[in-house]
Subunit: 166 residues, 2 copies
DNA sequence: AAGTTCATTCATTTTAAATTGAACATTGAT
DNA sequence: ATCAATGTTCAATTTAAAATGAATGAACTT
């Protein structure tokens, strides 16, 4: 194994700390630790890394690395490095907050919001079926309020994205 | 057991659906399902409820209900109902989005953000100790970027709160 | 086409988080 | 003071989520 291809095996203290920083960050967002490890190592690495680099340097399984990279690609947090590097795929992080937040909102937040709105519509239909009385009025009021929450969220998301996009 | 104190034991289909709605909601925020159940039942109930009401109607343990109510109180999502109702404590939900979001940001988001900034400061100190070279410059740049992310978040939080508070 | 390299899938295992419930306060009533 | 009602704590258990790694597939090489 020649020197320049040799896999670095341990993490420096600094690298480990940066990775820990991202682990905390992604846990706050409800994502698994391995996502933070992978993105963290890419973030702190000057050179692009392959799946096998992630496996060997982080000491995680190939399965974890593969699944983690898939999610990170879906979120737009990493992309394939397009240089002439042979068959193997190398990754680099996207370090623009704008795009990271955009991807998270698009992939993780909006789908939840949408399914919530569907459920809300069904609940409204259920109240519509009920005989009108004090209780059904109370229910209708509560659902209306939920609808306003949902609407606020829909308006807020683009504001957040705009703010973070410079 | 007299009729007006009798514990209602089952949940109506409507109540169950609303509770499910909130379970989904809190999971998105990284909170346990039981939190959604408790808040959901309070939200859909016209009358105030005691810990034992939550236990019997939701079929959860006293421990879960007690811990769940504590967290919800800390978040400002429920408050004690102050009427003359004997020894037992009754709860009602706070249904103002403003306060719910405010409590969540204060209790869940800000502490994470603060601990992240501490870690960032330590990392910057580590880079300061390194001999200056291309790699340490790269590290410094990465950390600077993280600092900007953190700053953005700090500015954004009050904007979100302001927007949701009417 | 047979061998090699690399990535993905998914049934199983492991780990982390949430829930339980018995024991322990605490408070109020008699 | 004793008892009964209510609420909390925390070690043990259960449940849900994440990680593993052998099997599989896909793509290149000779």
């Amino acid at each position: 194994m020649s020197a320049e291809v040799e896999a670095k095996t341990g993490l420096s203290e600094f690298e480990a700390q940066v990775i820990g920083f991202f682990c905390d960050g992604v846990r706050m967002l409800g994502l698994p630790k391995s996502i933070g490890e992978i993105y963290g190592l890419l973030y702190v690495s000057q050179e692009v890394l392959s799946l096998d680099d992630l496996v060997s340097r982080l000491g995680i399984s190939k399965g974890s690395a593969s699944q983690g990279l898939r999610l990170l690609r879906e979120l737009g947090a990493v992309r394939e490095f397009d240089g002439v590097v042979g068959r193997r795929v190398y990754y680099e992080p996207d370090v623009e907050l704008k795009r990271l937040v955009g991807g998270f909102i698009k992939e993780q937040v909006r789908p939840h919001l949408a399914s919530g709105e569907e459920k809300l519509a069904k609940l409204k239909a259920m109240v519509g079926e009920m005989p009108g009385n004090a209780k059904s009025d109370f229910y209708a009021g509560r659902l209306e309020r939920l609808g306003r929450w949902s609407k606020r969220a829909r308006i807020l998301l683009p504001i957040i994205q705009k703010f973070l996009g410079r």
